[in-house]
Amino acid sequence: MKPRSIAIVGMGITRQGRAQGVVDLELRRQALELALDDAGLERDAIDGYIHASHEREDLRYLGLSPNFSWPVQTGGATAPSSFIMAAGAILSGQAEVVACAYGMAPSSGGMPGFGGKMSFGSLSYGYPARVGMIGAASAHALHARWHMDHYGTTSRQLGAVAVQLRNHALNRPDAMTFGKPITIEDHQASAMVVDPFRMLDCCRDTDGGAVFLVTSAERAKSMAKARPVYIMGAGTGHNIGNWHKRDVFSHHDDIEPAARRAFAQAGVSLADIDTAQFYDPFTISIIMQLEHYGFCKPGQGGPFVADGGIGLDGAIPANTGGGQISGFYAAGFTPIIEAMKQLRGESGPTQVKDAELALVSGHGLNGGVQNTWSHATLILGADA
């Protein structure tokens, strides 16, 4: 797609927090109202609906009458992928305004949890679960251990990621860890969960909703109230190709094709990116993505972060809202939310000055024969 042909004109974010006791469908409804208000649009403007999961009742309960309702589920790459689908619907003439919706309430029991309720079939957790390989942390831990063994990355460097993210989140009222500092010693003292991950290497389930409204650049220009952010480029990659080549764990998903396509579409280079918002369920995610996107050399992600590389004054300010680990876990929408805030100048104490271009990533789908599989990249641009 051509840069600046598709605009994100509305963003609605509910409160993000633990155990709010609000069901997921209601969270999406609340987020939709906020997004409509943000864009200055009425309900009937929405003629396309994309839901990051499977749900049959959304359109009825949200009072929508679109031309289509598409489910999308490709793990942590679902959020950026839903924007790619929205752009496709608009550019192929299927819709003018597409709502990309997310809402989950895992910490209120709104989703099957562990302890007998987890449906391994639907999540395709696969055979290794039979002997105890359960949960996303372990899939990412395999990458982390590989990285430590091959590059000498240390637990303290993982801890440096956790501390940096907390430092970003400390002054952000929208972060779950607002006002709660941690030190590297806190990280080292936190309980080991799945080696090499300690508790403070991991994100926590969050209840919350997020809805984004996507339309054409032409339509966006006619909307008086909207403060659009533009899609400059997008790309996808899947690690199954590396599985076939027997080289999975040196990769963090398959970032190379996703990044190449997104940057080619945007017509920009890495040096043009003002802030990066990575999907970061675990500390290793930031380290490996910094390397695979090219912000530092292979194996240098740990020292890069420990030296302040993703701080506000660093080479590439990243996950400035605290990311998923210290901000909130809205699946792949966490990085998109923060990119939108940065490009609209709404990031407050962690605002990157004059941020015009943001890199956004999503990755996941850690199931089947366990690994983290899917990856998607968006490059977003501020209103010129």
Partner: protein
């Protein structure tokens, strides 16, 4: 160690030959392309030659630990008595990855590059690996 409560095997599944052979004297099968000799696990389609020459073959079940993680937390109550335990990705000598539990070794002593072999005759309903 029955795991049907966690992840039941499905009767008639494409991987049935693996489980039947494992139950039959702990034979360890891989899916092999007769055209190029590539081995895969579980049931697979050769990325180059498709499905037509795929066949199940007996293999020794040996390889090296490519990477691993140690569970210090039980994610479900059935595993509470087993932590800490090591999950490894074994790179089988024929090429494919095989995710499994390591046994016969202190989890703290597990290292990448360690040679391992499938454990037979212990009544395991899933192939577990131990140091050679």
């Amino acid at each position: 160690m029955s795991r049907d409560s966690i992840a039941p095997l499905i009767t008639g599944d494409l991987d049935t030959p693996i489980w039947d052979a494992w139950a039959d004297g702990n034979r360890f099968l891989l899916h092999r392309c007769g055209t190029c000799g590539r081995h895969d696990w579980p049931a697979s389609c050769c990325p180059e030659h498709g499905m037509s020459a795929m066949e199940w073959v007996d293999t020794p079940g040996t390889g090296v630990v490519d990477t691993y993680t140690i569970f210090h937390r039980a994610y479900i109550k059935e595993l509470a008595s087993e932590v800490p335990y090591a999950m490894a990705v074994v790179r089988l000598d024929e090429g494919p990855y095989f995710h499994t539990r390591l046994v016969g070794v202190d989890p703290a002593a597990v290292k990448s590059g360690m040679r391992v072999r499938v454990r037979k005759g212990a009544g395991d309903d899933f192939p577990l690996f131990a140091p050679e």
